[in-house]
């Protein structure tokens, strides 16, 4: 697991909720310019793992180290229902300290979100809210992107647009970690692992 060229590293992560031990020593590294997938059954602890990796949740034991700026797309769509799409972009522009919204505009166009710019997030459809969720994670061009079930609710065109954006990130040397309960297109991942028994193990029979 020890790789010098890592951009994100999880070291011996343990996390329990009460008596239920969810993570039991997760160790892995994400390299620069790599798309890594971690799959797991329902309740395997995928979302807990991503919340710990993003810094949202504190691990009981172990550490998360990242060298590049993080982008985090949570499974539960985290937007403010009372604010418009445009207001979301402006809010996160301040958070990321971006001098312009050029990248955000590009993502908005590619994900066909432009016509909803002045629409409140609360009245958007599930898939459109997920697009906004994704744009907020990517608009600052992060070195490492953590995504939890990122294409839920996407139609086929947007699913393809998502992978096109992800591939571009990889080609530019950025890293992407996708966590999902199922991996449809395993060939799109550079590495595929499975979260089983609270640990990340290499997925048998998958070489990409």
């Amino acid at each position: 697991m020890s790789t010098p060229d890592f951009t994100l590293r999880a070291v011996d992560l343990h996390k329990a909720f009460g008596t239920r031990q969810v993570l039991r020593g997760v160790d892995f590294s994400l390299k620069r310019g790599e798309i890594m997938g971690i799959i797991g059954e329902n309740g395997a602890g995928k979302t807990t793992l991503l919340r710990v990796l993003s810094g949202e949740l504190k691990a009981d034991r172990g550490a998360v180290v990242h060298r590049d700026r993080l982008g985090y797309c949570p499974q539960r769509i985290v937007v403010n229902d009372e604010l418009t799409v445009e207001q979301h972009l402006r809010y996160f522009q301040c958070a990321y300290r971006l001098t312009s919204l050029e990248r955000a505009q590009e993502l908005v166009e590619r994900l066909d979100l432009a016509r909803y710019r002045r629409t409140k997030a609360g009245v958007l459809s599930g898939g459109t809210r997920q697009k906004l969720n994704l744009v907020l994670a990517l608009m600052h061009d992060p070195g490492v992107v953590l995504m939890d079930e990122p294409y839920q609710g996407f139609d086929w065109d947007n699913y393809l647009a998502f992978w096109s954006i992800t591939k571009e990130l990889r080609d530019r040397g950025q890293s992407v970690l996708v966590i999902s309960h199922i991996a449809h297109d395993v060939e799109r991942f550079d590495r595929l692992h499975r979260l089983r028994g609270g640990q990340v193990v290499e997925e048998a029979g998958v070489t990409t």
Binding site: S2, S29, V65, P74
Partner: protein, 356 residues
């Protein structure tokens, strides 16, 4: 009209100039704008403000008899004979304002809880977000208190309408502060509503001389709207100043604000660690064995284990090519490369995982 048009166009130009600015001041102004937008879009709260306050005061006006009761005023330092109907309007208005503003702030903070955490993890200033919430509270309280003061003036003529509105304003700040704290501490809207209603119930009822004719100042002075009620009664029936009592609401707001700050800090803490690219990568796991010795495992990069930090010469540096890491313990010194290594030692302090 041209002045108004000019002000509006100036405001729009200023707003547009802020669009691409990310300074603390620009972030604060934008956050305040978004906070106000959220409150304005809370239609239930707006409906309560517009309809509940006049209906509630109208009911009080129609039902409560106009008998004379004695109100234990700290401003006049003695029992103050007042019209029960008019006193009930004071406590009814305070009750309505506190419930509405408490609910508005609670709902706004709770609903944006996960969003705020995401903003902070993305790099937004916590102080800026919290300051925006407080400014939002000030604006909401001013508008609701002003409206309630106007409605009250339609039913009755308080001696000092300005002081009456101020007491309503500070009571709103008190419960708005409570709403912020509850919004950060409680997870369901039902729980928050119950707590706000129950606190308000005890608060208002105990201070009502019709329900509680006894002089129990020693106890009631610790209630959240004690100062506002004292100032409200003085404003309604006397010409004495009571700004000090009205200002007690600011003390409550400060207390709730500090609790809210701590809760917000805890809730939005970033637990991941960012290591700059230039920093040598080292991640170490330390565990103890049954015989008391330490097992040091380097998960990333070679590390130097220094177990006698106190005896290290000043300026001691790790050998070239080896990342620096220190584990505080007693025993013999050891150098561990990548992979696992064992350093027999008598542990004084064990860190389960350390990184450098």
């Amino acid at each position: 009209m041209s002045v108004l048009t000019s002000v509006v166009s100036d405001f729009k130009a200023y707003k547009a100039s802020l669009d691409d600015q990310t300074t603390w001041q620009a972030s604060l102004l934008k956050a305040i704008g978004f906070e106000v937008a959220q409150h304005v879009r809370n239609r239930l709260a707006l409906a309560l403000v517009v309809f509940f306050i006049p209906v509630w005061l109208g009911i009080v006006r129609a039902i409560i008899p106009s008998d004379t009761v004695e109100y234990h005023s700290r401003v006049t330092r003695g029992p103050l004979p007042v019209n029960a109907n008019e006193l009930a309007m004071v406590s009814g208005a305070i009750n309505a304002v506190t419930l509405i503003i408490g609910f508005m702030m609670f709902a706004a903070v709770r609903r944006s809880s996960a969003f705020d955490q995401r903003l902070v993890l993305a790099g937004h200033s916590r102080a800026c977000l919290l300051a925006a919430k407080l400014v939002g509270l000030l604006l909401v309280s001013a508008v609701v208190a002003g409206y309630a003061g106007l409605v009250m003036a339609m039913y009755w003529d308080p001696v000092q309408p300005g002081l009456m509105t101020l007491s309503l304003f500070t009571s709103g700040l008190t419960y708005g502060g409570l709403g912020i704290v509850l919004g950060l501490a409680l997870s369901t809207e039902l729980a928050g509503m119950f707590v706000i209603i129950m606190v308000s119930l005890v608060d208002v009822m105990v201070q009502n001389p019709i329900i509680n004719p006894a002089d129990t100042q020693a106890v009631v002075r610790f209630l959240p709207t004690y100062g506002s009620m004292q100032a409200g009664a003085a404003a309604g029936f006397t010409s004495r100043g009571a700004v000090g009592y009205a200002s007690l609401g600011l003390v409550w707001l400060t207390a709730f604000g500090l609790i809210g700050l701590v809760a917000f800090q805890r809730r939005t803490r970033d637990h991941a660690r960012h290591a700059p690219s230039a920093e040598p990568a080292a991640a170490v796991t330390v565990s103890t064995r049954a015989d008391g010795s330490l097992v040091v495992t380097s998960m990333a990069g070679p590390v130097v284990l220094c177990t006698r930090l106190a005896q290290c010469p000043v300026g001691c540096e790790a050998p070239a090519g080896v990342s620096a890491a220190a584990v505080s313990s007693a025993g013999a010194g050891a150098v561990a490369g990548a992979g696992a290594g064992a350093a027999p030692a008598r542990p004084r302090r064990t860190r389960r995982a350390a990184t450098s």
